[in-house]
Symmetry: C2
Subunit: 393 residues, 2 copies
């Protein structure tokens, strides 16, 4: 219902009849096989095709396997420029460094100290970062600020074949934005690592990495850079899932957004630990805690920038209503039985009854559950009997 109110409100704000001619930007995704043998295992393990989704299986017995001190120097290290050195940008930068790539970074805030400690070249402005001519520019800004970030990139400073990649949790929006802004010739790779600092703390083994080669030209340099960038995640043990941005957004709304929605609702209820927590309740509290520890900007972005999120809210709304009505129906029929019993059967101390349910005069505030009518049971039944018979006439 609330969504209809929303539509009405929007209609009030905007009483216009515009006739914009819209079109969905066409995805120029290419799925060619890598030609150049990379210094990684990507050449041996072909990445799943869009048609064959990877089986949904995570090895439950996975153990921490990352040693942060281990650093492998690849034959041709990539120069990766990260825009946005927040938690997630830093989290990814560590893996890039661990695999021996060169990492540059820029951010709204000053991360020069952090970068110095972690072997990252820090640039105060995106201009400097682009002048250093990275192979891949990885946009790690929040969903809400990404358009602004992308529009400020000085593309003329980049070398040809540079790949623009993003890690947003919404992919149709990212694809359309990049297709609109990034000049022809540059590559576009949309990705979504389906994990973060909690789930990927010890290992990325078995964690899903979704990607869509939105616009990777068939020249060898861009192709090689793209495959090499993807191999970073493959080498960390990620389950590589290639799918279109549309598919991603549909699945993500059904899974990731619903998880965030449930966590935000439970967080709003201020769930507290009790002395009698069940294991499942503790799981629910933990899930709520880790999910809402992400910024509320992420949650807003998952809703505002994913076409399918509203449908999922409506589905959740209907499911909640169904479960409630089912329970309330049971309550009504139990009370009806209680009343009918009192009308048709003579009261007797030892016959089965439903006296332990709320009594009729206390029903409206539902505060009489579990009360035992110790006194006046007989009288009340007789009185109720009379009243109900009267009402049915």
């Amino acid at each position: 219902m609330a969504s209809f109110h929303l539509c009405n409100s929007i209609a009030n704000v905007n009483q216009t009849k515009t006739n914009l001619s819209l079109m969905l930007a066409s995805s120029t995704s290419s799925t060619t096989t890598p030609i150049i043998k990379l210094n990684s295992n990507l050449g041996n393990q072909s990445i799943s095709s869009k048609q064959n989704h990877i089986a949904n299986h995570i090895d439950k017995s996975m153990e921490p396997s990352i040693s942060s001190s281990t650093s492998i120097v690849p034959e041709f290290p990539l120069k990766i420029g990260i825009i946005g050195l927040g938690e997630f940008g830093q989290f990814l930068a560590k893996a890039f460094k661990r695999q021996g790539h060169n990492v540059l970074g820029t951010s709204r805030s000053d991360y020069s100290e952090y970068c110095q400690e972690h072997g990252i070249e820090f640039y105060r402005h995106v201009n400097g970062l682009c002048e250093a001519q990275p192979d891949v520019i990885l946009i790690c800004s929040s969903i809400l600020s990404t358009e602004d970030v992308v529009r400020k990139i000085p593309f003329h400073k980049l070398k040809p074949n540079t790949i623009l990649a993003d890690v947003l949790s919404v992919k149709e929006y990212a694809r359309n934005l990049l297709l609109d802004v990034v000049p022809e010739g540059f590559g576009i790779l949309c990705t979504h690592p389906m994990f973060g600092k909690f789930s990927g703390k010890n290992s990325w083994e078995g964690l899903r990495f979704v990607y869509d080669k939105v616009r990777i030209s068939e020249n060898r340099i861009q192709e090689r850079k793209c495959e090499q960038f993807l191999s970073i995640f493959q080498d960390e043990g990620c389950q590589m899932v290639e799918m279109t941005c549309e598919e991603h957004d549909r699945y993500a709304a059904e899974s990731q957004f619903i998880t965030h929605m449930v966590a935000r609702i439970l967080s709003n209820m201020n769930l507290e630990s009790t002395p009698i927590n069940t294991k499942n309740y503790e799981t629910l509290m933990e899930l709520t805690h880790t999910t809402v520890s992400h910024s509320s900007d992420l949650f807003d972005g998952l809703f505002l920038y994913n076409l399918n999120a509203m449908e999922q809210i409506e589905k959740l709304d209907r499911a909640f209503e169904t479960v409630k009505q089912n329970l309330f129906g049971k309550l009504r029929s139990t009370l009806r039985t209680q009343i009918e019993e009192k009308v048709t059967i003579d009261t007797s101390a030892d016959r089965p009854s439903t006296y332990f349910l709320p009594n009729s005069n206390n029903v409206t505030d539902l505060s009489s559950f579990s009360l035992v009518p110790k006194q006046g049971k007989q009288d009340a039944s007789v009185e109720l009997k009379t009243e109900v018979q009267h009402a049915s006439v």
Copy 2:
């Protein structure tokens, strides 16, 4: 809102003005220290008092420790008569047998074969079970059928000092029912093992066992039986939590009922595995699966027979509404910004904009998210500008 509709419906069904005199049955709980030294570790580890709730801590590193073949014969084994040999009754019977107690059982269905295999004396009727004079009668029926079960017990066949115990997930109801039906002299022990066949599959270590000695007389025989029965759970490693039935029901509604409610809602949504599940989404699916694998009778019982459940539904309802309104508010203000930008700023190809949000003419069906307006951008903006200015006059 729905709860108010419910109240109205009930008011329609029952237009009576009864004046039942109700009273909450007083709990005659005793918290005496065990006098007799038991053949268990209960004598050494005193059970926590009602005032000191056990710290909420489960050892995460717990390992399976139960060997089903190990059987310890206690010095004075108890004779435990289980009424209701469903999944949970069987689950508990195994532990009683493992600890060397004598287990008798009766049930609506014929479990004679199962009982023969598991060393349980099966009785076709409750009369036979009572004639065998167990020390403890443990009621393991569903919430909905328990009143009927309790009223059919032939108490005159039992020996004095027999303890009537239950394991229902709602405790005020159980306490009031037992206090009403069980004759003076017999003991009443209300318990709730906060675990089941999933969470307690490998071990009960650290799992919570809630109990309330509702009516245990101070004579040594009844006291000893009670402590010995509790020691079974203590010896299995349970966290023993003594609290009143009222306290239990308040905490259980906040934790166990909310968990079941969320699981029932998500189950109603038919959550499905996607190729891009996050770890938290998989946790949510698993939690839903294990929770709804309990009978719907249990869920109905948790709602119908716990005074505090309705309040929790209302709280969940308000939280859902708050989260939705928060998101919808953000959507409205984003759209307002989009409209204002178009009105006040001249359109230009490279300025930051919010074109990637749904466009005004497609807003009502919310299906235009992430569409890139490739054509007619300039014209449409001009048209929109005119219309909005017109509307504001």
